[in-house]
């Protein structure tokens, strides 16, 4: 395989407690710690392992987001991606636009494999992989927990409700990474310093001429209702009777 494309999204760090802006127009991002979407880290780690096995030559990390998303791409480069592309766009993008933008990059780069996170931990849409597969007209496997390359086919184990399912698809293909696919490596300190010298191209979103359907707009954000105070029960019997009293069992 010549090339793997990996999606890297800049999201609010998973340790941060999300707060909604007072005017309900979005979540507070000012001064909030931002990180690489954890599932994207897993996607990149898988690409790195494939390359380390000698089954791929180049890894390209791509992000769609504001200028600051360069930080997350630098992390990807420090982890081991060979180069990075930032499609510069401020503000929200709906999943189909994300998929179309990725398709534009796929057309340019012609990778044999695209690995994305199964979802981003901010909006939890989980649609880009499926939509990209349709636009690209190539096979998809979502929620991968094991990936093997056999010549021109990809054997992927995925976690489904009934257990584990193994699918074989022809390359090129797009897959999405699940939590148990791997454990991402620590970024090595010397590699962080070296990442500075790796190429990072910035492409203006407008220059890709991606049609933006504009079917979705976010009008109002609200935090989940605060959890009501619980009660302590002595034993299972008391629990059952409490649940019965509330009409829950």
């Amino acid at each position: 395989m010549r090339k793997i494309l990996v999606g890297i999204k800049r999201v609010v760090d998973y340790n941060v407690r999300i707060r909604v802006k007072p005017d309900n127009s979005g979540v507070v991002l000012d001064g909030v710690k931002m990180s690489v979407n954890p599932f994207d880290e897993i996607a990149l780690e898988e690409a790195l392992r494939i390359r380390e096995r000698g089954e791929a030559e180049e890894i390209v990390a791509v992000s769609i987001g504001p200028d600051d998303a360069q930080q997350q791409l630098r992390t990807a480069l420090a982890m081991g991606a060979d180069r990075a592309i930032l499609v510069k766009h401020d503000g929200m993008l709906e999943p189909l636009t994300v998929a179309k933008t990725l398709m534009a990059i796929v057309s340019r780069e012609q990778p044999e494999l695209v690995i994305l996170g199964k979802q981003a931990i901010d909006d939890d849409n989980s649609q880009a992989t499926q939509m990209l597969s349709a636009l690209w007209d190539r096979p998809q496997v979502t929620c991968a927990s094991k990936v093997e390359i056999k010549g021109n086919t990809l054997s992927v184990v995925r976690e489904v409700d009934a257990g584990l399912e193994t699918l074989e698809v022809d390359l090129p293909a797009v897959i999405s990474a699940d939590l148990r696919l791997n454990e991402p490596r620590y970024v090595k300190l010397p590699d962080i310093m070296k990442a500075k010298k790796k190429p990072l191209d910035v492409v203006e979103f407008a220059s890709l001429n991606v049609a933006t359907p504009g079917q979705l707009t976010a009008t109002h954000y609200e935090p989940p209702k605060a959890r009501a105070k619980g009660v302590m029960v002595k034993d299972v019997a008391e629990l059952i009777s409490a649940l019965k009293n509330k009409g829950l069992v």
């Binding site: 990180s35 360069q70 930080q71 630098r74 992390t75 420090a78 620590y186 970024v187 090595k188 300190l189 010397p190 590699d191 962080i192 310093m193 990442a195 500075k196």
Partner: protein, 387 residues
């Protein structure tokens, strides 16, 4: 003036933090309770630190380190400093910068293996009768022909029990000065196992359990002249060139532990309910938190500024002293108040607080006492005026 971190610096913080929290925190209780770092655990964690490129990251790229600039190095030290001292110092080694003074064969024998984690250095200055008065040292290294003959005792020598060689400072002669006779000091590299050189266990003490101090005894110990680090009688010059930054290292590790103590105190202030409300709503607690955060911020800015100046080549002894003094005294205050906010629970070994509180005590003593730091600062104020 830009106070922001670069992308690289932010990544270094994250990489170090991830390692410390995932690999070192789980073993803190064991090391603290046993005051012992199991050799197999030591080996395993050290290898992980080497694999993560954290080991010897303080060293320049040209010699195999990560080449962190001084600000990045301080941020890295701060994150490491959050963990138990015996774990972070023994497993994520930072070879003494003084080894950069190695020349020729010394580089192959001491500098490079130290950076690769194959050999470990320790530094021996302090003696039973030479603490702050370093030049009062009685250990001698007298050049006889092509050999130094070493005699004397060093104590409080940190991690000598884990070291393969010692960077030794000893009196090699005397010269006349306006204030009487002045000892001349030479730095030497002495391998463990050299005949006439013995390492003995040091004292049990209140801080940093499992990170041991040792006593070094030299009895007619002979080492070839080639073991000299720097020039004859120029030991302090070598030390002054390379060692001033270790005071910033002390400051940075204090910042890390203070941040951890403050985080614990913040969390406890919202979790703990007394008299029907979170204790953080009582002014007695909230004002403590405000003062702790303020002191921490002040110490951090002072330390980072000194690091930045170190990178610019404009750092003075007074800058280093101010950072060390402020950060170590700040840690004492923050650890004590964090413990106070926790009440009785703060004294229990279930939380890392009582350890942080005990460990804080040494920081105002080693690498120059608070009094020595104040002396350095005041001297820099008055000397220009003829004082």
């Amino acid at each position: 003036m830009n106070f922001g971190l670069t992308d690289e610096q932010s990544m270094i913080v994250k990489a170090t933090k991830d390692f410390v929290e995932n690999e070192l925190y789980p073993y803190e209780k064991e090391v603290e309770e046993t005051a012992f770092l199991r050799p197999e655990l030591h080996r395993e964690l050290k290898q992980k630190a080497i694999d993560a490129g954290l080991y010897a990251a303080n060293m320049p790229v040209e010699v195999g380190g990560a080449g962190l600039d001084p600000v990045a190095w301080i941020l890295y030290e701060k994150e490491l400093g959050k963990a138990h001292y015996a774990l972070h110092y023994n497993c994520v080694g930072r070879p003494s910068n003084i080894l950069l003074a190695c020349e020729g064969e010394q580089r192959e024998k001491y500098l490079f293996p130290s950076i690769r984690g194959e050999r470990v250095d320790c530094l021996a200055l302090t003696e039973p009768s030479a603490g702050s008065d370093v030049r009062g040292m009685k250990t001698t290294a007298i050049l006889q022909g092509d050999e130094f003959v070493i005699n004397g005792t060093k104590h409080f020598i940190s991690h000598a029990d884990h070291a393969d060689f010692v960077i030794l400072f000893a009196a090699s002669g005397e010269e006349e000065s306006p204030r009487g006779k002045k000892k001349l000091i030479t730095a030497l590299l002495v391998d463990m196992g050299t005949p006439g050189f013995e390492v003995r266990p040091g004292y049990k003490n209140v801080s940093h359990r499992g990170y041991n101090n040792c006593i070094l005894e030299f009895n007619d110990c002979r080492v070839p002249k080639s073991q000299m680090l720097g020039e004859l009688h120029k030991g302090f010059e070598v030390a002054n060139t390379w060692l001033s930054a270790t005071r910033l290292q002390v400051a940075a590790t204090c910042l890390g532990r203070a941040e951890r103590a403050l985080d614990l105190a913040k969390q406890w202030s919202v979790d703990r309910v007394q008299f029907g409300q979170q204790i953080g709503k009582f002014q007695g607690v909230s004002f403590k938190l405000a003062d702790m955060a303020l002191e921490l911020r002040a110490a951090e800015l002072l330390t980072l500024e000194a690091a930045w100046k170190l990178g610019q080549g404009t750092a003075t002894d007074s800058d280093m002293a101010m950072a060390k003094l402020k950060a170590t005294e700040m840690l004492a205050m923050v650890a004590d108040e964090a413990l106070q906010i926790h009440g009785g629970m703060g004294l229990m070994s279930d939380l890392p607080l009582e350890r942080i509180w005990r460990d804080a005590r040494i920081e105002r003593i080693w690498d120059g006492t608070s009094e020595v730091q104040r002396h350095i600062i005041s001297r820099s104020l008055l000397r220009p005026l003829g004082g």
